[in-house]
Symmetry: C2
């Protein structure tokens, strides 16, 4: 019954995002997503555990990428510059101008649901833990490692929110750099 579909996952994701944006996340069913992508529900469940997973696909890979860049930073890099380098690399690899519309759609869907926001917070907490672990491996002791990790995640979250809002015409990498400068300004002024 189930045919092999070239990039069925990609089409399911696009179909889901379009339906979430048009009809709302809560109102959209897996049956509608599958029909819109031209596949069966069974095919949907080969790729995603539930409709929520469509929004969090790739999150684990992003975390691994970011923590890996902290580990691979030059030995002389300070904790915050190691994290800054990782965020800049992620911006260049995953969040270019062509991803902005999709990222904004996702951001709006997540903002619409407390359940999705909780999941997003858990993902960010997991990223902070991965950053802290990577810093400890570099010889950074606690509480410094945890504090820089949390600050780095705050920079990412804040910069990402500005980027998807589209208020700034800059790319995400530039916004991250500005946000880091702002963090240093407010923390070091006092």
């Amino acid at each position: 019954m189930v045919r092999w579909e070239p990039d069925a996952q990609g089409r399911l994701r696009l179909a889901a995002m379009a339906l979430f944006a048009e009809n709302g996340y809560e109102q959209t069913t897996v049956a509608q997503i599958a029909a819109s992508a031209g596949v069966t529900e069974r095919t949907f469940f080969r790729y995603f555990a539930d409709k929520r997973e469509v929004l969090f696909l790739g999150g684990h890979e992003l975390e691994t990428f970011l923590a890996g860049h902290v580990t691979a930073a030059p030995p002389a890099a300070t904790p915050l510059t190691a994290i800054a380098g990782a965020l800049a690399a992620a911006a260049a690899a995953f969040f270019t101008a062509e991803h902005q519309v999709r990222s904004r759609q996702r951001h709006l869907v997540i903002s619409s649901s407390p359940d999705l926001q909780e999941r997003e917070l858990l993902k960010l907490a997991s990223l902070a833990a991965a950053f802290a672990a990577a810093l400890r491996e570099r010889g950074v002791s606690d509480p410094g490692a945890s504090l820089v990790a949390e600050s780095g995640v705050a920079v990412f979250k804040t910069a990402f929110g500005r980027w998807v809002s589209g208020d700034a015409s800059q790319g995400l990498a530039d916004i991250i750099e500005e946000t880091l400068a702002e963090l240093r300004a407010v923390v070091c002024a006092s």
Copy 2:
């Protein structure tokens, strides 16, 4: 049937914490908590929507207290010192040596359950939003307000974890001060 109980809420809370610590959070039922406190289940539900609420009682008051202290900080206070003052005031008011055992018990229970951890993350995100709003009222613009707010919450969370672990023999106010100094050291070194 339901008699008025002097400080029934306090006794329910103590009974719940003791049962969570002894038998585990998941295994403890509302019926057991009520029986242990010497009240009916109906009395339990006059004070708490469910057993999870026992662990988050007072969270809203703490947030209001903290944000209020940021608002009331001297005009010359920088954003980070305004938050530092609020955290020190909360430590003196709510987290003295006599609260340490109870806070540690609560911390252990929350660490035992992903559901409770999610709720705790939501509470911390709400605190960061309240800090940022209080800073904006003081004329601090974004993204600085959000970044300092998130950093302040990271300091609180990290310091609190050290305090309840009991590794440090210091009070929470001293640990918060040290943690703030560590934040400044790691952010401003780079």
